[in-house]
């Protein structure tokens, strides 16, 4: 809904101002100036469309150096046309004698030119006030269809992403994400302390090794001690080493448990919050989004966030910490050697980044090839009848073989990359050791470095590279987590558009009078579906809604249920404005039977009692009987306890329909809505359902939509909707007498049924 408006006065370069000056009267000012990106001769390039309150001027270079200028007086214009063509758009105006193309532009400018048309229309109207009622503008430029663009930065949004990666404020998102951990700050602090301690302790063993070598195993002359003292030291070191390993394992166990707990708790809160919020949204929220994406934000995205909180985050902290501590130790042992030994690190970082980029690219390609094979299978196996009928087996096989070959080649490429990756990495990491051997070994010979220090150096070097490599993937990790966070927060941040205002009252049990007063409604601005609709329905009346597809019948019903809010006018039920009663109390009194009824996983009895969970068994059986469902239910293996829905017994359309009617009967609604309730049934089933419906509508205000007009025979009155307006209203006989739309529809259907009978 938030279409950005574009400016229609762009700054005109001086050269052009000079060129057009001769065409302007002294009192004329440019009111509209706009660039387009295709010249009038079809080449790419800037051209200008200008307008004053008197005339339109087009300015285009058309490949030559002298500008091509056309002027047109506004007062002559009788029509403005927007043409959304296959590959570009045109803006054309007509005078009584000629037509002139004002501008050509690529599809990206569609939105801008829609605004231009509006301004132009205003200018023309101002120039010739006599033509106010005349319809000047013809056509509208569609939204750019192919790629979705980000509203704020204009970059194309990847379709698998849903959010603009360029506009992600990673830091803000992560801060917000961490705010969910705030209520659990005790756990978080505790685990952080554990993490620090454990990391610190885990880095101690090489230092012990130094002690062991320098003081016990290979003591230098000045450190030399007697055998007993050496043993005492050995036992001490062994004891220390044992303590370190033991406490390290213990700390790690506790830490990983606590962090998982923290992660689970945070995501539990988040998951439930997202789901609760989802149910507060109105239908329009679901219409605008794919079901899969909404589901993914609860399952995948929240799960990924949990991974990030409980694993990703602490790994990052641990890696950074490890690197700092190791550097500290190395430099305190021997600064010169440390500086030399760390020399290959930039090389390692570069190689890791380079390889990981390549890996991502090749894996993505591989994934696409796998998807291609799946798509091929999903296509040809269900279509095997066609393949056989046209004897195209060989071609399908060779198609498969081509893709299979692609996949094999891709896999081999990945294998090649992987087999180079490990050796290269281990070579780079060995360089550090090589330096330590070369330089450090020399120092040991020169006695400026002890053997213990030498060994400790080598050990720390090995431990140093792991964290460095994993930090190289940091960016990727943040990116993934923040994309997920963005999607989750998008759901949370969207405000439901149909809500109870604070002063709503509970709608008392109603008689069922429904009034529409000048109701106007549109799903998209400027495209009204319902226009100034007014009518009054008396309590208990059955109303048949008929009209062409897309005339607004279903929309009308959505408005009675207040799935959407109207733009202007009023809908009254028993004199209460829909806006002033609570949604729940309204919908509690409305029963809906849809064309394709939805059954939830669970026993039939539960499905019937969906709108009234506290119903007694007698009420459930009674409702099923009234809906003509009792007999077929008893034929099922477990009667009313038979599971239905996706994972249960498959029921036919007519059977499901009768269950949904029983559901509506049990709820005892005051207003009943039948949306094509019998359109997909065969004649016999339809008769049974009609009978059940007839029982259901007694004493309730009923709105029934039907294409087959014979199903509306019980209706007291018929509303014929045509393009969102009330075309005809009256009983069947009255409308036949009027000989309007309804009479024509009726006539056509009788003709059709005659044809069928022949």
């Amino acid at each position: 809904m938030s279409e950005t408006t574009h400016t229609t006065t762009e700054t005109i370069p001086e050269e052009i101002q000079k060129n057009i000056a001769t065409h302007l009267q002294p009192d004329e000012h440019i009111q509209l100036s706009i660039t387009s990106d295709i010249r009038l001769d079809g080449t790419f390039g800037e051209s200008w469309l200008l307008a004053t309150h008197r005339q339109i001027i087009t300015y285009s270079l058309n490949g030559s150096n002298t500008p091509h200028i056309v002027t047109l007086p506004l007062s002559e214009i009788t029509g403005i046309e927007a043409k959304d063509l296959m590959g570009s758009g045109h803006l054309k105006v007509r005078t009584p004698t000629q037509g002139t193309t004002l501008a050509r532009f690529t599809k990206g400018l569609n939105a801008k030119f829609n605004d231009v048309i509006k301004s132009l229309e205003q200018l023309v109207k101002d120039a010739r006030p006599s033509v106010e009622d005349e319809k000047l503008v013809k056509g509208k430029l569609g939204r750019t269809a192919a790629g979705k663009r980000c509203d704020s930065c204009g970059k194309v949004i990847p379709h698998w992403n849903g959010v603009c990666p360029n506009c992600l404020d990673t830091r803000k998102l992560l801060t917000r994400l961490l705010s969910y951990a705030l209520p659990h700050w005790k756990l978080a602090t505790f685990s952080l302390v554990l993490l620090l301690t454990a990391t610190f302790i885990s880095l101690m063993p090489p230092l012990l090794m130094r002690e062991l070598l320098d003081n016990v195993l290979a003591p230098t002359a000045e450190n030399f001690v007697v055998k007993e003292a050496a043993y005492a030291q050995l036992y001490l070191l062994v004891g220390l080493f044992f303590l370190i390993t033991f406490s390290q394992s213990g700390l790690n166990a506790i830490r990983s448990y606590i962090l998982s707990k923290l992660g689970q708790q945070v995501t539990y809160d988040l998951r439930n919050q997202v789901y609760r919020h989802l149910h507060r949204h109105s239908l329009s929220f679901y219409n605008e989004r794919e079901t899969g994406r909404i589901m993914a934000s609860i399952t995948q995205d929240v799960g990924r966030l949990q991974d990030f909180i409980s694993d990703g985050l602490q790994e990052i902290i641990r890696d950074v910490l490890t690197i700092i501590i190791i550097c500290g130790i190395l430099f305190s042992l021997n600064a010169k050697l440390a500086a030399l030994a760390l020399l290959p690190t930039p090389l390692l970082v570069y190689a890791t980044l380079n390889f990981s980029e390549r890996f991502h690219r090749t894996y993505r390609g591989l994934w696409r090839r796998w998807a291609g094979i799946s798509a091929l299978l999903a296509d040809t196996i269900p279509g095997v009848r066609v393949v056989k009928a046209f004897a195209q087996e060989d071609r399908e096989v060779s198609k498969f073989e081509t893709r299979s070959e692609d996949l094999r080649d891709g896999e081999i490429r990945v294998a090649g990359l992987r087999s180079v990756f490990n050796p290269v990495m281990s070579f780079i990491t060995s360089i550090g050791t090589l330096i330590i051997w070369f330089v450090g070994g020399g120092s040991v010979i020169e006695k400026t470095l002890s053997i213990g220090e030498f060994v400790a150096f080598t050990q720390y070097m090995f431990r140093f590279y792991g964290p460095v490599q994993s930090l190289c993937n940091l960016n990727h990790r943040f990116q993934r987590a923040s994309t997920s966070a963005e999607r989750v927060f998008e759901v949370l941040d969207t405000q439901p558009d149909v809500t109870d205002h604070p002063k709503v009252v509970t709608l008392p049990r109603i008689a069922g009078k429904v009034e529409f007063k000048d109701v106007t409604f549109s799903y998209e601005p400027s495209k009204p579906i319902i226009k100034d609709l007014s009518f009054t329905i008396e309590p208990g009346e059955m109303i048949g809604l008929a009209g062409h597809s897309g005339a607004g019948k279903s929309t009308l019903i959505n408005l009675i249920c207040r799935f959407y809010d109207i733009e202007s006018g009023q809908i009254l039920i028993d004199g209460h404005d829909l806006q002033d009663v609570s949604l729940k109390s309204l919908r509690d009194q409305i029963g809906v039977v849809l064309q394709d009824p939805f059954l939830f996983n669970g026993p039939i009895a539960e499905n019937i009692a969906y709108g009234k969970p506290e119903a007694s068994l007698a009420e459930i059986v009674g409702a099923a009987k009234a809906a003509n469902a009792h007999d077929f239910i008893l034929r099922l293996p477990d009667g009313y306890d038979t599971p239905v829905g996706e994972r249960g017994v498959r029921l036919s359309g007519g059977e499901r329909q009768r269950i949904s009617i029983a559901r509506a009967i049990l709820r005892d609604p005051r207003i009943l809505i039948l949306d094509e309730a019998t359109s997909s049934m065969d004649t016999e089933t339809e008769a049974q359902i009609q009978e059940a419906l007839y029982r259901l509508i007694q004493g309730r205000t009923t709105f029934a939509i039907a294409h087959r007009l014979s199903t509306l025979k019980h209706a007291h009155r018929l509303l014929i909707i045509e393009k969102g307006e009330l075309a005809e209203i009256g009983s069947h006989d009255e409308l036949i007498e009027q000989d309007g739309i309804y009479a024509r529809l009726c006539h056509m259907q009788t003709e059709l049924s005659k044809l069928r009978a022949v």
């Binding site: 026993p603 009895a605 068994l617 007698a618 009420e619 059986v621 009674g622 409702a623 009987k625 009234a626 239910i633 008893l634 477990d638 009667g639 009313y640 306890d641 599971p643 009967i665 049990l666 005892d668």
Partner: protein, 165 residues
Amino acid sequence: MNQLTSELTFLPQDARFYLNTFDDLSLNVSGQTYDNVTVERAFPLNAPDQFIIVKDDQGNEIGIIEHLYKLPKDSVTILQEALEQTYYLPQITKIHSVETNFHIPTWKVDTDKGPREFEIPSSRRDVRVVGGGRVLLRDADGNRYEIADYRKLDLESQAIVETMI
């Protein structure tokens, strides 16, 4: 809602069930006699003793027994026997083993009707956990078995059930 329940014909409490000379289940209600009637549970799992539908030999509904135990005692006994036959549902009391060969598990169990061995074609479809530890099984031939509450079986059986549900 009275309007809804008024559609139901409940059998009066003096309805009497008996076996006639052909050993067929028969019904005498308000002076009228129906031979060879059939009984069906509307809620075989959740309310087996309520809403029992009685049909005549043509399959037309005579009426509904709202509550089995409100009938005369001898009728209850006879009805229970008839229902027992219709809904033959052996209770599993112990599971000896479940061996899976070629993806088809074979259950070796003891039931209240004696030992039994059967195959379950699809653990997803034919093993149903109804709630409260209750498990319903259907074997490859369509026979049904019930575990009233698997949490009350011996530990060994429990462990087996838990891997199968």
